[in-house]
């Protein structure tokens, strides 16, 4: 292993600036002559705007401008686009409502943008925003899935009957129905997947700046994918060509999906900066984030599993309603469909699967990807159902999983729901998890808990996820409106240092370290001589950004491909310098050597030669040493694993505490184990958050009840245990790195493991169901009802 190369737990390059307070997040940036924006948002969930009076706000000293939807319409500003179209069962396209950055005449959720007040200070802008008078003609509200699907429900969009955006299906219905006819045993379950809010610690922020001399725009924004924002905002909303629009996503304080999407505020600031000829800055307050960041999850599903006498799975039927919110967020429709239903095979060889998904509108904030995006919904549903199936079949929860696993010899395995898994070893992960969790001694721990008056339970989940959505042509055929490749440029500087330009974006993942490890591994240059540049469309040629655990599996491979081009060219240059054939040159540890001789040249000298080409094969090679690769994967990657959770429940209060948690994950090959473990810890904590603490709740009128960190509970340090984590590696078969991705696994595997453990702890009361999150009151109520 190269020191600081592949597989080394290298300490992070980026840390110095963060631990010294010198990171540069968007709100840390201030531009000369900058003014401040405050967004006037709807306090009601559904209304026509009868009248909008901005005169008092405009007259406030310090106010520079008050702009409204009418101003946007006059400038022909477009609608915020949706990046994924879904077709209905009959082949017709989904209903796609317009989404103006500032509402024109109707507001559709609490927090919908109505106007922007721009002033010389944040405080003045906020003061003046209170003077904007809006006369609302309130309309009936549907604030949740049940209300939206009730007979005679009010409509969010008059042209979307039944509040249905799409009614979609996947799988073979006839074959699945036939499987149920053969079945001797059937397990069924109704599950709600709770609505969540990502709550990255850095609130969203945007600064628009217009250079009238060059007619150029710059947008600083808290984004996971600046090139995607440039494309969506430039092409669909503001009509600015790419070469006139630079999008910079500097240090970004966490994303978890919520910073993938193109948001209204990005377009508003960019547009306003041109109108005012001044930089315009906006930063969300946290309570504003709650009503303007896209939310996650929010499904109601019914699922049935057909089995034979031996507990072998014959067929799976799933019917899901998914809340999409009032508008379609950038990738909203893809989440409950191609990222959810396609994962319903899980790790099991279920021969027939049929799923139908209704995407529904409600008067709530748009719903889109949040860490895991669709896959936690599938995993939760399936792993709760399998636990129930074990009871129906009279089998141990581990035994029923073992019987039904796809076996190592079955790969590549084509599921009944579109995906082809390349490789995996699910049973091996279970074995590792059982050992690491000391599963065999659970009973003695349970007894010890009982002596302290606590109920102890253990729960297992085996999950699979599909990461690095690809290939582009397949995704395109399924409705994606963007490519899903990644780009990487390796620029070897004349003195041999290396600058990498990557289209991936790091907002906590540590690309500046892991990608530098790949460079060190390939070129043998010193780790400190590598700089990773990301997050700036003005510097990085192109990119699709970071989401869906794709950075290593797509961005990393693009980088490795570019590095391979560098190696090839370097060998040719070395061959010239060493008067040998390129085929005879070996490139190892930063030295290029003619095989079997002591004739050798260092990579730094090769670089210098490329830029000072005095002794250089100019008739064969261009000077310079810079290469770019675009990589479009052949398939998704399929991380998988086994999670085991132990909880203690206080029967008097219903409080659930996770006391042990074990994860055995298969992420393929690992570049930096320290960073991967950190990703797992974070994902597990968000998964435990979903299972026990986090819940986004609206009342019937569409007011968000969990609208601040006073009521929306993020897991705190004493809510989670130390995690025991290990990996079980089966390298990905279709990318050169053998990597699969690790960012979302924790959030996918943990919720069912936690709830299975809670249900297990309560089994003595005859309880076999528990709504998520398992809050103290819900657990206590369940115990009371069972008594």
């Amino acid at each position: 292993m190269t020191k600081n190369g592949m597989g080394a737990s290298v300490r992070r390059k980026e840390d110095y600036r963060f631990i010294t307070g010198s990171g540069q997040y968007t709100d840390d940036i201030n531009r000369p002559n900058q003014v401040y924006a405050y967004i006037v948002r709807s306090p009601v969930a559904h209304a026509h705007i009868r009248d909008l009076d901005i005169s008092a706000a405009v007259a406030t000293p310090g106010v520079v401008a008050v702009l409204t939807g009418a101003d946007m319409a006059a400038d022909e500003v477009g609608s915020l686009p949706c990046g994924w179209g879904i077709n209905n069962k009959d082949g017709s396209p989904m209903f796609e409502p317009g989404h103006p950055p500032l509402a024109a005449d109707t507001v559709h959720h609490v927090g919908d943008q109505i106007a922007v007040v721009i002033a010389t200070s944040r405080a003045i802008a906020k003061d003046a925003a209170e003077l904007v008078e809006v006369d609302y003609d309130e309309l009936p509200v549907v604030a949740g899935l049940e209300a939206a699907s009730a007979d005679g429900a009010a409509l969010v969009w008059p042209d979307a009957p039944g509040n249905v955006c799409f009614d979609w299906e996947i799988g073979d219905k006839a074959a699945t129905d036939a499987a149920f006819e053969q079945a001797t045993r059937v397990a069924s379950i109704d599950v709600v997947n709770n609505r969540l809010i990502a709550n990255a610690m850095e609130p969203r922020s945007a600064i628009g700046e217009y250079d009238s001399g060059k007619d150029e725009y710059t947008l600083y924004t808290t984004s996971q994918n600046p090139h995607v924002i440039r494309l969506l905002m430039g092409a669909f909303v503001l009509g600015i060509p790419e070469h006139k629009l630079r999008v910079i996503a500097p240090d970004v304080g966490g994303g978890f999906g919520s910073k993938i999407f193109h948001y209204a505020e990005e377009a508003i600031m960019t547009w306003a900066s041109r109108k005012l000829k001044r930089p315009v800055k906006w930063t969300a307050e946290r309570s504003e984030s709650f009503i303007s960041d896209a939310h996650g999850r929010d499904h109601i599903s019914h699922a049935e599993l057909a089995m034979d006498d031996d507990g072998m799975f014959l067929g799976l039927r799933v019917s899901t309603r998914a809340n999409l919110g009032a508008y379609l967020s950038t990738f909203g429709p893809s989440v409950p469909t191609y990222l959810h239903a396609t994962l319903l095979a899980g790790t099991y060889k279920t021969p027939a699967i049929y799923a139908e998904v209704k995407g529904m509108f409600t008067n709530t904030v748009p719903v889109d990807a949040y860490r895991g995006a669709g896959r936690p919904e599938a995993s939760y549903l399936l792993e709760r159902l399998v636990d129930r199936a074990a009871k129906v079949a009279g089998l141990d929860p581990i035994e029923i999983r073992r019987r039904n696993f796809i076996k190592p010899e079955d790969f590549p395995y084509q599921t009944p729901v579109a995906l082809e898994y390349d490789t995996g070893d699910y049973e091996a992960a279970v074995e590792k998890a059982l050992e690491l969790s000391d599963y065999d001694n659970f009973e003695s721990r349970k007894n010890a808990s009982a002596e302290r008056g606590k109920l102890r339970g253990i729960g297992i989940s085996t999950y699979i996820e599909a990461c690095g959505i690809a290939p582009s042509n397949v995704a395109g055929a399924l409705g994606a409106r963007a490519g899903l490749y990644e780009a990487g440029t390796v620029r070897v500087n004349p003195t041999g240092s290396v600058t990498v330009l990557t289209g991936s974006h790091s907002h906590g993942q540590g690309h500046e370290t892991t990608f530098a490890q790949l460079v060190t591994e390939a070129l043998g240059v010193d780790f400190d001589a590598v700089e990773i540049v990301h997050g700036d469309t003005g510097k990085v040629p192109f990119g699709m950004g970071t989401y869906g655990s794709r950075s290593a599996a797509v961005g990393g491979v693009a980088l490795v491909n570019a590095l391979e081009k560098i190696r090839t060219k370097a060998k040719k240059i070395a061959a010239h310098l060493l008067e040998a054939s390129a085929d005879d040159v070996e490139f190892k540890d930063g030295q290029l050597t003619v095989v079997g001789t002591d004739r050798s040249v260092g990579f730094g000298d090769v670089a210098m030669s490329a830029y000072v080409p005095h002794n250089y094969p100019l008739d064969e090679l261009e000077p310079g040493l810079e290469e770019t690769a675009f990589y479009d994967p052949k398939n998704f990657t399929f991380p998988a694993g086994c999670h085991i959770c132990e909880v203690e429940i206080d029967p008097d209060t219903g409080v659930v505490q996770v006391v042990r948690f074990t994860a055995a994950d298969d992420f393929g090959r690992v570049i930096n184990p320290m960073i991967v473990e950190g990703q797992v810890h974070g994902g597990l904590t968000q998964g435990i958050g979903q299972a026990l603490y986090e819940n986004c709740v609206y009342d019937e009128s569409g007011q968000l009840l969990s609208g601040s960190l006073m009521d929306y509970c993020l897991p705190k340090a004493d809510n989670v245990p130390d995690f025991a984590v290990t990996t079980n590696v089966t390298p990905c078969t279709h990318n050169v790195l053998g990597v699969k991705g690790c960012g979302e696994a924790g959030a996918i595997g943990a919720p069912p493991a936690v709830i299975n453990a809670v249900v297990n702890a309560l089994a003595e009361f005859g309880i076999d169901d528990m709504p998520i999150p398992a809050t103290p009151e819900r657990v206590w109520q369940a115990i009371q009802a069972a008594k």
Binding site: D652, N695, M710, E777
Partner: protein
């Protein structure tokens, strides 16, 4: 936050003059409730009178049969005070369980009780320990002090100066906190005082209150079992996202039992 005039008087008299001259003035002690409320624009005082520069308001002293704590004593000071810890450990424990470390470093006893936040912790101690609230004008008995949600016996121009906590024979506090905000969903202090057993509940109702049925049962027999047959009527209890009134009523008993058990009962 709206603009206001800020004052930091050096004496109580000066503070009172400012309050008298400005009807919409408010006192700021630690600011742990007031500033977040003002940031959300839910309060709009014309003037803020900061008591932090007035000497002596944060004193903690042993007055023989009682512990006197100044209104400006920070929660962390109370939690770490040897004087408090040795005489009324339950009070130090209560202070140590308020909010988080940074809230405890700023928040004050006076601010907590002047506000009568239904979810604050100190009110349980005021009632259970039968404390006396000393203001710039008079002394108010614990049982006369809390009148309702954010409502106390304090007059508009009246300032809490200190609280005198009689030393109990024994006392314990048990708290069930809101997992997000760390305020009390239910907090119960059980104390054996010179005036008998007192059980005070915070978090559950509009303001802190004494649970007289619990007191009677414990007076009869100071044991957890004695609480088995008493319950609290949920009709007047708070209900929110985190706990229904019925669940709160249940928690009152559970917390009371825990406090009693902590006292060996």
């Amino acid at each position: 936050m709206y603009e206001f005039n800020y004052h930091r008087p050096a004496s109580l008299d000066e503070a009172k003059q400012i309050l008298a001259a400005n009807a919409e003035a408010k006192i700021i002690a630690g600011g742990m409730t007031l500033l977040p409320t003002m940031k959300l624009r839910l309060a709009q005082p014309s003037d803020l009178v900061d008591l932090s520069a007035i000497d002596g308001l944060d004193a903690i002293s042993d007055a023989g049969s009682a512990i006197d704590i100044g209104a400006m004593a920070r929660h962390a000071d109370v939690a770490h005070s040897e004087v408090v810890r040795s005489a009324i450990p339950a009070l130090a424990d209560l202070a140590d369980a308020i909010g988080d470390a940074q809230v405890r470093n700023r928040g004050t006893l006076g601010g907590s009780i002047a506000n009568s936040d239904p979810a604050a912790d100190y009110p349980a101690a005021i009632l259970a320990l039968n404390a006396t609230i000393r203001t710039d004008q008079r002394e108010i008995a614990a049982d006369d002090y809390f009148l309702g949600m954010f409502e106390t016996a304090l007059a508009d121009d009246e300032l809490v100066v200190a609280v005198s906590f009689p030393k109990p024979k024994k006392a314990a506090y048990a708290k069930f906190h809101n997992p997000a905000s760390r305020y009390a969903i239910v907090g119960v202090m059980v104390a054996e005082t010179d005036s008998g057993i007192r059980v005070a509940v915070t978090g559950a109702g509009a303001c802190a209150f004494r649970a007289s049925d619990f007191e009677a049962a414990l007076t009869e027999s100071f044991s957890a079992d004695a609480l088995g047959s008493v319950s609290i009527d949920s009709d007047d209890l708070n209900s929110d996202l985190h706990a229904s009134a019925g669940y709160r009523a249940h928690l009152v008993r559970v917390m009371a039992v825990r406090a009693v058990k902590a006292l060996g009962g």
